[in-house]
Amino acid sequence: MDILKEDLKRQIIEQLNLEDITPEDISDDNLLFNEEGLNLDSIDALELIVLLEKYHGIQVTNPDEGKVAFRSINSMAEYIRKRKS
C-alpha cells in the first residue's frame, strides 16, 4: 500500500466534502475531473491547490503543472514526490 496515495484520498474527501465517497471508491488512476472519475470542477481545482500547500507544503504557482498533477491520485503523488525530491 502506498501511504502517500491513501493519505491523498482521505485529504481529498475531507477538503472537498465528498460525503458519500470512501478512499476505497477512488482508484489510483481514476481521472479526478472526468465524469467517470470524481467529476470535480474548477472550484475543486482551487481546493486541491490549497490541499497541496496545507498538507504537503507545496505551492502550485505554474497553472500548467496543476493540469498535469491533478489528473489522478497517481499523478498527484508523483508530483508531490518530484517537488519534494
Partner: protein, 327 residues
Amino acid sequence: MRDMDKNTYYIIAASTISHQDTFGKTGFSDSMSPVVSPALITPDYKAFIDAGLLRRMSKILRMAVACAKDCLAQAGLDQPDAIITGTGLGCLQDTDKFLNTSLTVEGLLPPTAFIQSTHNTMAGQISLSLGNHGYNMTHTQNTLSFEHAMVDALLLLDEGEQHILVGAADEHIEILSEITTHLGYKPGFPLTSGASFFIISKEKRHDTVARIADCEPVAFAQDPVAKLTRFLDTNSLEISDLNRVVYAVPGNANAGKYKTIWREAGLDPEKCINYLSLSGVYPTASAFALNYAVDLISQDRSLKNILIFNALRKENLGLTLVQSVEA
C-alpha cells in the same frame, strides 16, 4: 407607491423548514409545540439537490434550495419570474469557517467557504439549481429582511410579473450564543435557524387559501401601536377585526405590554400567539409566521384577517396582513 386595491397577491405555495413538522405538510399548525430541541426537522436534501452541489452547501443553503424547489413543485412551475430572498445574518456557517481558517492557516485559504459566505449566495444557489435567469435579489435589513423582500416581490407583481419566489432564511452558529450572552440579550426563546419560501402570484389557483393584503416594514418605529393603527386603517380595519395576531416580541416585559394591547382591543388572548415560542429566534422568523398564518387559514377558512406583528427588534416593526381567499 403600491396600489393595494389594484392588485391581489395570492400565496400559491409555501414551504418551511423549522423545528416544527412543517416541510411538505399542511395542517401543521394544529400540532405545534414550543421549541425545546436544538434540532430542526429537515427533509432528505438529496431528493431536492444534486449531490455535486449538496456537498458544498451549508445548512442555510440546503434549507433555502429545498424550500424553493418544494414551492415550485407545489405551484407546478418550472421557473419563477424572480427570486427574492431576505436574510438577517446571511451565510454564517461559511463566514465562520472562512474566518477561522484565515486565523489558523498560513498561506492559501480554501475558496469555497469564502465564495459562499456572502448574503446573496442563497438566492444565487437557488438560481443555479433552477437555471433561472430572472431578477435575483437579496435583502438584508436585520429583522425586517423578509418584509423588505416581500415588498420587492409585490412591487414586481405590480409591474407585470406573474409568479415570484420570495423567502427568507437564517442559520444559527455557536458563536451567536456567545455573542448574545456577552451583549446581555435575552430574547426568552432559543436562538435557532429556519427557512420559509413562498410563491406569490397574481393568479389564484383552485386550492389558494390566502393572500397578502399588505406588508409594511417600519424602521425606527417610535410608536408601534400608532403605526399598527394607521396600517390597519389603510386596510379599512381595526384591531378588533383581526381574527388572529401572530407576533414576535422578545422578553416577558414587552410581551406583557402587547398582550394588554390585544386584550384591550377586544381580542381573545388565546388568539394572539407569540410565534417565537414556535419558531425560535432568528432575524427572519416572520417568514415562518407567514407560513403559519397560511396554514391556520387552510385549517379554518373563517379566519379572514391575520396580522403578523414583527417586533423582534425594538427599533424595527414589520406589519403583514394576511387574508383568507374566498373559495
